[in-house]
Amino acid sequence: MGRYILKRLAQMIPIVIGVSIIVFLLLSLSPGDPAKMILGLNAKEQELQMMREQLGLNDPIPVQYFNYMKKVVVGDFGTSYSTKQSVIEMIGVRLPPTLILAFGSLFTILIVAIPLGIALAVKQNSPFDNIMRVVSLFFAAMPGFWSGILMIILFSVHLGWLPANGFDTPSAMIMPIICSSIAGWAVNSRITRASMLDVIRQDYIRTARAKGLKESIVIRKHALKNALLPTITSVGMAVGGCFGGSVIMEMLFGINGMGKMMIDALRQKDIPTIMAGVIITSVIIAVANLLTDLAYSFVDPRIRSMYARRKQRKEVAGHGAN
């Protein structure tokens, strides 16, 4: 198991390098002169030339990339072109709100969608189930920025209960987190419901009933553990969605997070900031995916022993290091 985790962490490296190459290439090839961004439109050609030299912009792109990555490896993401701050310090400030937003909504998705999905499966075709089917259809179709606007109109403008801006107090966090998870509640409760219904039809549930177990135990113990597998996959994939969606949420609610930082940086072609934002986001998502897979193997012994067997095979083949 430990070996498997190490292997997965090692596999992340080429992917993150790939991400950095693509984004670096795109940024370098796109029009716009960072030197002009830094020095302003009135800068003299000589100053611009000096700044380009200083930033290494005159080197061939592969050299620029290599120099950049050399610093990244030791944790130096450079200085922002636009704010002149150290990028790592900026991220230290900007990352926490985004993490709270993304993982907060992930958490609410879990605590809302799973119990709801189970209840709907158990009460299949009841009025409650039918109503929720329609409701979840609409919830899943609602973009977070629209539900956000509606909530702001209701709770901030008319009722005055919650602030429409910022993310520093718990009450300010409520609306952004709910808005970015509404679609997730709908989608994941539907997935849980469907997989629960699928599992309930399985032979081993009949075996459990034939043991004379209480129906509540059959559902909670035998059905749920199996039914959670598709939900885990889907929630794992939602991590990426939450990070992507947080860009829009941060713009709507005026949250000073990574998303807003990225948008500002993209507008000003602030290459170091963009690079750092993309690299860190992709690392977080890769780690989240790894955690998803681990959760999966925690629930399903078949997956667990697949990892173990893979390891054995490697050892037999005699090249354990990979």
């Binding site: 984004v23 259809l137 899943a140 973009p143 109109i153 992507g244 969606g245 829009i248 998502i285």
Partner: protein, 299 residues
């Protein structure tokens, strides 16, 4: 045992039930109430939106500001009210739908062409080819697709063509993966072996035999992906990176209406409703298609 089979064969009376896959699917689709509701919704939306040039004039009805009529509530003549520049919200929603849905469909077509090619090659040839294609796609999958789209659009300048390209690139990785999984499944079936034994070329096998079989379960995914892309366009427009003013687009309309939520609600409510109804219709149709087309879902 062979004897039994021989005697049983002519007795099979269910011959009349032989229908083609598509006719069968259509029958099942028609029986599915929510799919029918979705199809009616979608057809209505498409007809109303795409007939709008017949009664709307872009220059006069859609983008011409009328500063004497700003932020009027819904009333006769302006059924859904006017926006901050005095333009008719209904006219802009109808026109904007053409843009949102049009971009969504075109981007999906582009991404399914690329995705089917990559997925089919990857799944069919396997080995190193598969490794290279899938690992490269992993790189794109490592960035959240919305963030990828945002990055691409802001680097490329937000024209409609660039938007379509960015959206397509954002959805190619997941489409390719779905196609690859289907191709792998179908490639493993014996009829492919039989065709190969007849000496058909790889290209012929992929295009004539594998893809048609692979695609039917994917069609529903494609329909739902269009819904996702329409949401993505609105999201991009909402943060100012999508469709540019004065062109109407649902997300862009929401974004400009947002500044006036303290005074009026209709400017933000109606474009959102249009968006939600469209996505709901597409989801219902996609769900129905999945149940109707995927033979493995049959119970």
């Amino acid at each position: 045992m062979a004897q039994i089979d021989l005697t049983l064969a002519p007795a099979g009376k269910k011959k009349s039930k032989k229908r083609s896959l598509w006719a069968d699917a259509w029958l099942r689709l028609r029986k599915n109430k929510s799919a029918v509701a979705g199809m009616i919704m979608l057809a209505t939306i498409l007809i109303v939106i795409y007939s709008s040039p017949l009664y709307l004039d872009y220059d006069n009805d859609v983008i011409k500001p009328d500063l004497t009529q700003t932020l009027q509530f819904p009333a006769e003549g302006k059924l859904l009210g006017t926006d901050e520049l005095g333009r008719d919200v209904l006219a802009r929603i109808l026109w904007g739908g053409r843009i949102s849905i049009g971009i969504g469909v075109l981007a999906m077509m582009l991404s399914s062409i690329i995705g089917c090619t990559l997925g089919a090659i990857s799944g069919y040839y396997g080995g190193k080819t598969d490794g290279i294609i899938m690992r490269s796609l992993d790189v794109f999958m490592a960035i959240p697709s919305l963030l990828l789209m945002i990055t691409l659009v802001s680097i490329m300048k937000p024209t409609i063509t660039n938007l379509i390209i960015a959206l397509a690139i954002g959805s190619v990785p997941s489409v390719s993966r779905m196609v690859r999984a289907q191709v792998l499944y179908i490639k493993g079936q014996e009829f492919v072996e039989a065709i190969r034994a007849q000496g058909a070329s790889d290209f012929r096998i992929i295009v004539m035999h594998i893809l048609p079989n692979a695609i039917s379960p994917l069609i529903s995914q494609f329909v739902m992906e269009i819904a996702g892309l329409i949401l993505a366009i609105s999201g991009l427009s909402f943060i100012g990176l999508g469709v540019q003013p004065p062109d109407p687009e649902w997300g862009a309309m929401l974004s400009s209406g947002r500044e006036h939520i303290r005074d009026v609600w209709h400017v933000t409510a109606f474009p959102g409703i249009a968006l939600v109804l469209t996505v709901v219709a597409l989801t219902l149709v996609g769900d129905g298609l999945r149940d109707a087309l995927d033979p493995r879902m049959k119970r």
